[in-house]
Symmetry: C2
Subunit: 239 residues, 2 copies
DNA sequence: TTTATTATTATGTCCATACATAATAACGCA
DNA sequence: TGCGTTATTATGTATGGACATAATAATAAA
């Protein structure tokens, strides 16, 4: 008997083979249910998942049509620095460089959505893979959102690991860019001034309050981010 | 009456508020169905979607438990260069620099999964935002996978746009990195040699055959990629 | 002809029920 | 005590029927 996964795969095959071309309507659920010998609810489930994945668009009364031009999107796993380093088979080490509670700079205040001069926590630290510097971290923490940070000295456990435990679910915005290493960055990363670095900038928030704003800088010659984006629900063992 | 979306939101709220802590079991479907006054199928649908989103893990007989440590993942929209430039309000222009059918280099052969020396298409071109160079493109096309490329001169329509139309559904692997501009890159991007560039490398394939391998280089001072990653199914108007 | 009303249609969702399946727990035997 | 068998349990999936809803088409009124 055919399951909704079978239906889902068959429908995906018809889409990706252009049997049902982009922009065109596909047969309605009733018709497909009869063709496949299943209940309409089964077809509905299959096609709804395909719609969630962005391959078709459904509208009541109008029917279901194949989405004209899909934008490519990649799912990037934002690396957790310790795991990343340990997965490379290297020894992970963390070093705190600075931890101050100081009035927020203009930029920090803007990013944290607090008024300039409000006290916030500034942290600078770095992470090593073996003996090689891997990541240089410059962070602001909004103490109004995470007051418990005052009690942390961040000497043994890094601020990111602590925050992930303290505020496990938060929204985030990431920016990836290439830049020339600043004086301080190049020094801590063991690079020449102006050498290319890969910067991940992250801002996280929850219930309207910004939690932290951080810039993670990596040596350009060693660091990269890889994503693999497969067509879902295709023939090749996708469950 | 409560819909499965209501249930989904309530359950997400209990997870993100740590009412149901990480690693712990949550009540089973029967119990929740009774609590919410709905059929078990309704609870099932709600929680299955949450499981697909990666917040809980379900196992028969064992039950459903909150996933211990979620890795942060970001959904990156890979920009389509023309759209990106036009969205910035700039005029898009494309210029072909080279188009040859030549024996694949060692690296190209490896990436295209063909034997070294097999003829493939090499394309070099660039894309402008107004008068400013925005992207420098170095591409190999596997002619065994896309023979129709031989008939294309790529003077008016760029290879990427053509390929997206020719092979609309393909799997992809992306690599993002920061690098120092090569001689050729810096020249075409109007940069100094060694200036930082943001490189997107992409390989696409379909039915086991590699289609194309391309390196897209952007000036580091102008280019960045931004992602926004919200906790799904949360209180704030999701869907 | 324009506008308001009504009918039609495809999808959206729910329910009760049934049975399948995978994982675990309990049991019985050696 | 160790091991193989059986029972139990939570989730997985299918069904037919029902009604809701949004969008469109058809119709009637102004």
């Amino acid at each position: 008997m055919r399951t909704y996964k079978d239906i889902r795969q068959i429908v995906m095959e018809r889409i990706t083979s252009n049997e049902w071309p982009m922009g065109e309507l596909i047969p309605n659920e009733q018709v497909l249910a009869e063709e496949f010998g299943v209940a309409r609810a089964t077809v509905n489930r299959a096609i709804q998942e395909i719609a969630d994945a962005g391959f078709v668009e459904r509208r009541r009364k109008a029917g279901t049509r194949v989405v004209p031009r899909r934008s490519r999107d990649a799912i990037v796993q934002i690396p957790v620095v310790r795991e990343q380093i340990e997965n490379m088979g290297e020894n992970y080490r963390f070093a705190l460089i600075a931890r101050h509670i100081v009035p927020a700079t203009k930029a920090a205040a803007r990013e944290l959505s607090i008024s300039t001069g409000t006290k916030a926590m500034r942290i600078v630290c770095q992470h090593f893979a073996g003996n090689d510097p891997w990541q240089f971290e410059e962070r602001w923490i909004n103490l109004a959102a995470v007051p418990a940070a005052r009690e942390q000295d961040f000497t043994s456990v890094g601020p990111n690991e602590w925050l992930v435990r303290e505020v496990p679910y938060s929204n985030a915005e990431h920016t990836f860019r290439a830049a020339a290493a600043s004086e301080q960055q190049s020094q801590h990363l063991g690079l020449g001034a102006g050498d290319p670095v890969f910067v991940i900038e992250r801002k996280t928030w929850r219930r309207g309050k910004t939690i932290t704003w951080v810039q993670l800088t990596h040596p350009g010659d060693r660091f990269s981010m890889i994503t693999r984006d497969d067509i879902p629900y295709s023939d090749v063992a996708s469950v």
